[in-house]
């Protein structure tokens, strides 16, 4: 790392640190230089860490009361809701926590897309982040199966059947996933086991994600490289920590609004009906955060094709650092990309809306158009923009866009003069 060598003050600290450099790590995390122009879109990393820890803690507690068996699972959820002390609260935090986790991760991902945070030298951070996102989807899917309601059962059936589209070995793979010839008790048991495991893998990847971030340091809204020794950075603690905590509190307020005032609004009422392998609900929908991909799956009029496009929609993001050939990171200086970014946001939201609608008539046509545009954005428009887009001139320093505004310095001096005698000289 770039900081000067840290030596703990106390003898004991030195003794420990020379054997296991925990204090050096802690010092690095506190003094880690962050660009001083980071805005609130940069607070979602901290928020996401909070979400993961909340899910792990509430999940750990729910596991003390839940029974992973087809005859008892549904009852044990009701037991948690009605009998267990504060069980309703813990379960609602866990269930809505999943939605909040995805809300935050989507903002975090779109932040990266807008400010070009996936570009060199941050490709590895981006790819690890996508793996975390995929693990999150797998974990959320398996968690949704555990209450063994109608949506749990039929969601599990539809998603596991995706693998049966694979030629030749597809059937054997689904049988292997199920541990039988349909979604049944063995399936529920293994999903529970994996649902418990994956968050810890995610946690490990989060550590790698942050480690990879701390090598080049944060990107920033201007997107140019920050000069670390030129007053352009601030130590993470206390400056970013305070900003993160404030954003987190606002986020928690939204989170708790859902938990206390609309705990079921993001779920589906059919999941309060116990699973029945003989009756498919009239309208199967996945959780909201998977809807855009579900719309893509249904837009393609072929089983294998739909599955391929759905997975491609996720994996294409892995190639993004190389598909986007523009050297300029931030959309602030890319007039055309900035517009296309919002078109993409709109397309993804539209796909989400269409995923919740029946696959017929105008909904089907729109899903096909939106699916086509999604791929055109990444495969055609982005590589072309890198060649043909005329970007705006980049500032020399992240301070310039602020200080170059007319009158800013005068205003600053005027404010500073009020505090005469109190260290004004350090302001300049």
């Amino acid at each position: 790392m770039n900081e000067t060598k840290y030596i703990p003050k106390s003898k004991l600290g030195q003794w420990l640190d020379s054997r296991l450099p925990l204090l050096t790590l802690s010092h690095h995390l506190q003094s880690y230089p962050t660009p001083k122009n980071l805005n609130y879109w940069w607070t979602f990393g901290g928020i996401l860490t909070f979400c993961l820890i909340t899910q792990i803690i509430t999940g750990l507690v729910l596991a003390m009361h839940y029974v992973a068996h087809v005859d008892h699972a549904f009852q044990s959820i009701e037991h948690i809701m009605r009998d267990v002390n504060y069980g309703w609260l813990i379960r609602y935090v866990h269930a809505n926590g999943a939605s909040m986790f995805f809300l935050a991760v989507y903002i975090h991902i779109f932040r990266s897309l807008f400010y070009g945070s996936y570009k060199t030298p941050r490709e590895v951070i981006w790819i690890i982040g996508l793996i975390i996102y995929i693990l999150m989807m797998a974990t959320a899917f398996m968690g949704y199966v555990l209450p063994w309601g109608q949506m749990s059962f039929w969601g599990a059936t539809v998603i596991t059947n995706l693998f049966s589209a694979i030629p030749l070995i597809g059937e054997s793979i689904t049988t292997w996933l199920w541990g039988g010839y349909s979604v049944d008790n063995p399936t529920l048991n293994r999903f529970y086991s994996l649902h418990y495991l994956l968050p810890f893998l995610t946690f490990g990847l989060v550590i790698l994600h942050i480690w990879a971030l701390h090598v080049p340091g944060n990107n920033n809204p201007i997107g140019i490289d920050v000069k670390k020794n030129n007053n352009e950075t601030m130590p993470f603690h206390p400056y970013m920590v305070m900003k993160d905590i404030f954003a987190l509190l606002v986020f928690i307020a939204v989170f708790l609004w859902f938990v206390f005032f609309a705990p079921n609004v993001l779920g589906h009422p059919d999941n309060y009906i116990e699973a029945n392998p003989l009756v498919t609900p009239a309208h199967i929908v996945p959780e909201w955060y998977l809807l855009p991909f579900y719309a893509i799956l249904r837009a393609i009029p072929s089983k294998l094709g739909g599955v391929i496009f759905m997975f491609a929609a996720i994996f294409i993001l892995m190639l993004l650092p190389w598909l986007d050939t523009s050297k300029v990171r931030s959309a602030v200086f890319r007039p055309i990309y900035k517009k296309l970014f919002w078109v993409l946001v709109f397309t993804v939201i539209l796909l989400g809306y269409l995923g919740a609608k029946p696959p017929e008539g105008i909904y089907l046509i729109l899903s096909r158009v939106a699916t086509a545009y999604y791929f055109i954005h990444f495969l055609i428009l982005l590589p072309m923009l890198g060649r043909y887009e005329k970007t705006d001139p980049l500032p020399m320093s992240i301070s310039d866009p602020v200080l170059d505004k007319p009158g800013v310095l005068d205003k600053f001096k005027k404010v500073a003069s009020k505090y005469e005698g109190e260290n004004v000289s350090s302001f300049k």
């Binding site: 539809v158 059947n161 049988t175 049944d184 003989l278 089983k303």
Partner: protein, 170 residues
Amino acid sequence: MSKEIKPKRRDFLFTATYTIGAVGLGSAIWPLVHQMNPDSSVKALLTTEVDISNVEVGKTITVLWRGKPIFIKRRTPKEIEEAAKVDLKDLKDPQKDSDRAKNPEWLVMVGVCTHLGCVPLGDKGEFKGWFCPCHGSHYDSSGRIRKGPAPKNLEIPKYEFVDSNTIKIG
């Protein structure tokens, strides 16, 4: 390029070691993978006998076999006729009705949509057969796929008539 590289004794030992290691690792991993396949208690439930004496003409009963619904439909003469006269060229997965029903009056099928596994609804859809509400696949009165994303006809399980009133599935 022309210079021939002669494998050394050490190269042989490395290759042999990797090979034995890979075989050992593979045989250690296999039980961990195979334990997820259907176990003996699941396989023990592979056949079901169904009494069909109470099924009226035009009605369907649904029974559970291997955790999946099985449709047993006693078809009307009109449905049998319609299923038989469909031109095979119109079918996505061409199959004659006579190959799908041993006894044309009785249609026995796995009631699982071949798209993504939902249970299709009976007497619905554009072909007077089954309609899957999940992603809009239409099946005809022989359970053949006619429209929608499903790639195949509804599967015919292995079954036999034990006597005129009993079907054994599996």
